[in-house]
């Protein structure tokens, strides 16, 4: 199962499900809900944290948190 942590640069995914009891409510409130899209914008040096576009909000979160969010990766759209 892919998670937000598995995204590569510029890749997008649709949130499917997450470990509900682990994920802080705060993240949900920012729009981290099933059906919403996530795009990986940048990865920090040393691979952590990651910078994502969560249905319009640009935020950085740590990898450990990203691993809790499961998603369906949208296969390669046409290169921009």
């Amino acid at each position: 199962m892919a998670t937000v942590a598995d995204l590569i640069h510029g890749q997008k995914g649709i949130i499917k499900d997450f470990s509900e009891h682990l994920l802080p409510i705060k993240l949900l409130e920012l729009g981290c809900l099933p059906g919403n899209s996530v795009e990986l914008v940048q990865v920090a040096p040393l691979n952590d944290p990651i910078y994502i576009n969560l249905s319009g909000s640009h935020i950085a979160i740590r990898r450990s948190l990203a691993e809790l969010i499961e998603l369906d990766i949208i296969e390669e759209t046409q290169a921009p």
């Binding site: 409130e29 944290p49 319009g56 640009h58 740590r62």
Partner: protein, 738 residues
Amino acid sequence: MSKNINVALIGNPNTGKTSVFNQLTGLNQKVGNYPGITVEKKEGICKLPRGVKAHILDLPGTYSLNTTSLDESLVVELLLNKNDKDYPDVAVVISDVENLKRNLFLFTQIKDLKIPTILVINMADRMSRKGISLDVAAMEEKLDTKIALVSTRKRQGIDRLKELIADYKNISSAPNLDAKRISPEYFERLQRTFPNEDLYKLWLVITQDVNFMPIEKKRIQDATDFTTKSKEELKKLQHKETVLRYQFINNTLKETYKVDFLAAKGLRGSLDKLLTHKVFGYLIFFVILLTIFQAIFDWSSYPMDFIDEQFAMASEWVKNTLPPGIFTDLLAEGIIAGIGGIVIFIPQIAFLFLFISLLEESGYMSRVVFLMDRLMRPFGLSGKSIVPLISGTACAIPAVMATRTIENWKERLITILVTPFTTCSARLPVYLILIALVIPKGTFLGLSYQALTLMLLYLIGFGMAIFSAMVLNKILKIKSRSLFMVEMPTYRLPLFKNVAYTVLEKTKSFVFGAGKIILAISIVLWFLGSNGYSDDFKNAEHIVSERIEKDGLSTYSKNYIQNNVASYREAALADGMSATVLQDSITVLTEELKERAIAQEISSYKLEHSYIGQAGKAFEPFVKPLGYDWKIGIAVLTSFAAREVFVGTLATIYSVGSDEEETIKNRMAAELDDEGRPLFNLASGISLMLFYAFAMQCMSTLAIVKRETNSWKWPLFQLGFMSVFAYIVALIAYQLLI
């Protein structure tokens, strides 16, 4: 006239709450493009149409009413307490047009508390760039509220907002979401137990982890006929609440909010690629830091030399023009010298604030947080700790307050404890004058030794902060789960007005804040330095003349005469003066200089036997091993009130102890120790700099740490640890170098 309307400005971080506040009230609170600029309540008064007045409250940003950090909980605390004097008659939710969906989440929560709520959609000026179009009327209908479309940059929409506030009685206070939909069964029971209370408010009290309302919470737990749910079950319900709210919001926005992505343009993508790049990201950050040092050290030296001379001249002018007497002495030796010791640093302080303010206003600060988080974590710090550590280079007080945005208590505490190690602007005066005195002028790879030393001192401060964080991380046994999350704001061109205002305001408060302490200390020191009770003090003239007759002049005086004569001879020879005339005038000059030297020796003998001299001598044994004489000892001691007092104190002591008007620096350079070597030499200079780098010498910081940690334990720990450490390091440095 009835009482003022209470208005609270609420919204997500960085949506422009403070900008709206400033426009409503005409005040100038700090604005910056970093989520978490405002961490305290700020209030102001706004005049509304028809002679009504409103009391406006600016609050820290929050993403929702579920709070995870201290600054956010302020908002919840206020909204849940109807008895608070600031409890709003009307809430104004400020949202950012680019992030409307997320912003509305908070809006619906506040509306559900049955407070009349106005929606401000800010940053309207960015709509066309981003291809956004809105149907305000339809949105008002759906959200059951009134909307003001505002751009604080363009000063649009503020009048409409004022109208809406004045007319707040006509704003609906009906909720957006019926709380019972979250869990009919649970909320029915809750309602039955507390029939007269607001359900959503009860729900917030139950679910909040923050312990700001223990009594309320206990009341619910104690209600015998009501059993609350387990943490997991509650969380499930919160989850459901979130989904319901977003359903409502999506529904609202579907028909009223359109984005044409093709029309949208922005710098974000390309700039982020560069600024957060694995290599270039750090490189750019490093170059920015280097530029700041260059500015502080190099560019500001011109205005500084100018100021130094002006003060020496002013002091001399006062002495020559005003009738001699105790008041003139106080003015020239105490006050002007002391104030000069602080005014001289204005250019540097201003540069420092300028850069920090630019970093914040442009949106770059969040990128630095992103770059640094992984590197900071092994030390028990968070990426967000970098903001206090950087702004700590200006002053530790706002820096300690800026830690409020750190969600994890342990990371926050460690950041608070180590922040005072970063080189704050109050240390700068001490460093600069010592560097100018003891570090040679040469260059290394195009950088001057002096600039390099300064840079090294900053690195030492920063390194020490990191190192002690690591130690504290090992020692402190605090368990707390962390949720690190930082928003990356869009890049913005810094607004000249905002930056200029911040620089002006901060510099002013530095000068006046420090000025007050320095003035008071200067006057006290001057008094203690010009008076004494011992016979030695009273018979100074006699004793000194006798000693000179017996042993001749002191080394200091001999040097003084020699140097002056030498430079006179050089100048005269260059002018082409004949040898005989030269010989005669030198004889006259030497006589004159000798007289002055004697007067000076009397003054310094007096100083040594004045109150301050005796106190200093008593203290001297403690600082002698570090290479300081009693005068420096006094300066170190008074610096425990505030570091920047150091230079002012020395300036005052030296002007009392001498008859010449000279710049502070020259006077310090001329001081000799018992063996006739310069008192400020490499060993004692380095020892002093290290002492100032590590010692906790700032009352205000201690007070703020007490406030932010809510106990005396931490500030006292800081004071003890830092001062002892500073003493030991300074001792080792001096003994090795001497």
